[in-house]
Symmetry: C2
Subunit: 300 residues, 2 copies
């Protein structure tokens, strides 16, 4: 019989990447979690983690198991939220999935308008790979997916995309790094260390085309599927990184980096994907209208 508590610890450790961080989240001590996970591994005679340096890393088996656990406890959290909400009753659920390539502050600004609706919404927000989010959209476990690309056609799922807006991109670096690559933008990018979005993103290929046109060859030193992670590396001075221009001010402020330059020749778009049930969800309406009115007003 599978021990769901142990599996839960496994999940938290896997997603936080370390036992210590899992402890903070679970209010437990490391030896407890370490022990319980060892027991789990023992039960099935298979290692889920392996030590790499002083961190833990998923083994092959662990990587296989993680999506199952993910699904289980994601559902578990929703169930718990539902059980707790029972008494006060009937606020409308609004379940949003966010593709991990979308910068968090964009997401925040997109979703913020839904918080101020007259009818109280209960918002659930989840981040994942686009494909998985769309699957959940199909079975109506999500009401809306926010992504940087419209609905792909190769999936066996119907969905309707709605463009929220489009904007140019800006380049950022720590001041020290920026000083090392002086000169006019964009020529200053020549040979500079660059962090770029992963191969699966839309903006990646546009960016590369633009570099070719400008006859600039930056030195790509990192690829990231998750924009927050990319920005974290950028903040440490590893390389120059990009973000949509609408959040340029915020990036400069929050990460303490310098704006190197910006272009509208490369644009990033954002889409709201829904199944478009007969009744439009108030949350979706708020997001699409809010995006048009406030976030992307300066653009066509």
């Amino acid at each position: 019989m599978l021990n769901y508590r142990q599996l839960h610890y496994f999940w938290v450790v896997a997603r936080t990447g370390s036992i210590v961080r899992a402890c903070e989240q679970l209010n437990l001590t490391p030896q407890t979690i370490s022990g319980q996970i060892s027991l789990l591994e023992q039960t099935y005679g298979i290692a889920l983690f392996q030590r790499v340096g002083r961190q833990l890393e998923l083994t092959e088996a662990g990587r296989k198991a993680l999506p199952y656990a993910e699904q289980m406890f994601q559902t578990g959290n929703e169930l718990e939220a539902m059980l707790r909400a029972q008494p006060d009753e009937q606020q409308i659920l609004f379940r949003v999935g966010v593709a991990d390539v979308v910068p968090k502050s964009i997401v925040y600004r997109l979703i913020a308008p839904t918080m101020e609706l007259s009818e109280p919404l209960r918002i659930t927000c989840r981040e994942d790979k686009l494909e998985r989010l769309l699957a959940d959209l199909a079975i109506q476990r999500l009401d809306l997916v926010i992504s940087d690309s419209p609905m792909p056609t190769h999936l066996d799922i119907k969905g309707y995309s709605q463009k929220l807006g489009e904007c140019g991109i800006s380049f950022f670096a720590t001041q020290a790094l920026a000083d090392r690559h002086p000169g006019a933008f964009p020529q200053c990018l020549q040979g500079a260390p660059l962090l770029i979005p992963g191969a699966e993103t839309v903006i990646r290929s546009r960016l590369q085309r633009w570099f070719a046109e400008q006859q600039i060859q930056p030195k790509i030193i990192g690829e990231f599927d998750d924009s927050a992670l990319m920005q974290a590396f950028g903040q440490s001075g590893s390389g120059i990184f990009i973000a949509p221009s609408v959040i340029a001010d915020e990036v400069v402020r929050q990460y303490g980096v310098a704006l190197i330059g910006q272009t509208d020749a490369v644009t990033e778009s954002f889409y709201a994907i829904s199944v478009e049930r007969k009744v439009k969800h108030p949350g979706i309406v708020a997001i699409t209208e809010g995006a048009r009115r406030e976030l992307f007003t300066a653009l066509p």
Copy 2:
């Protein structure tokens, strides 16, 4: 923090319909399960079951919670199977969903051919409402769905139906009940107590049309979405019930009932619904070919 063990007990009790049966499955005593579920209810201050007679029934909250639990532990079971299978490695997964209106012995006969393939399959079989199965098909948590109707068009899911076969239906009753309604078939059905498939099934409406044509008004005393349940009631002598003619012999033998008559004017069809990935799953091939070759050979 949600107690997953208690939730698991809740799930088993809900799906078996009784604590005692859950005990058999979990190797526990009733007082344990009863107690643990009470604790769960206490934690969230909400009843999940209510006593009806000496059985338990889901409350409104329980009904809301069940699909979540279903999802969780279904996934949990798959995970466990995967973890166990790890050592011997690489047998092809074949996950089949069966709509509950399809008689079990038909399902068995359809699936049986896959057991004898040269390449070893690991078959997972799940029974549920058609709609839920199709949702899981869309996100590739299932490879095939077997149903009595082709892919409905109103869902936001793509799927491809393939007709497995078609056959007439037969009427059955206990000998005692049959004796009470003597005479030639189908006139003997006039005024006889009848158990029929639920309103959502395809055969239901065909059956009613046929009765109208024959100018027969049976007395409908029960509707069932689950064919096994209908047959159980039929076995107890509650009423006359139907089943596809291909399994007539088996129904007579297994339930100890008499065959009253059969007609090919009302037919029941069975379909295999898949997402038709590039590569045809060996299990799907085996089922469609097996159906054509063995089960429904006598028909066009």
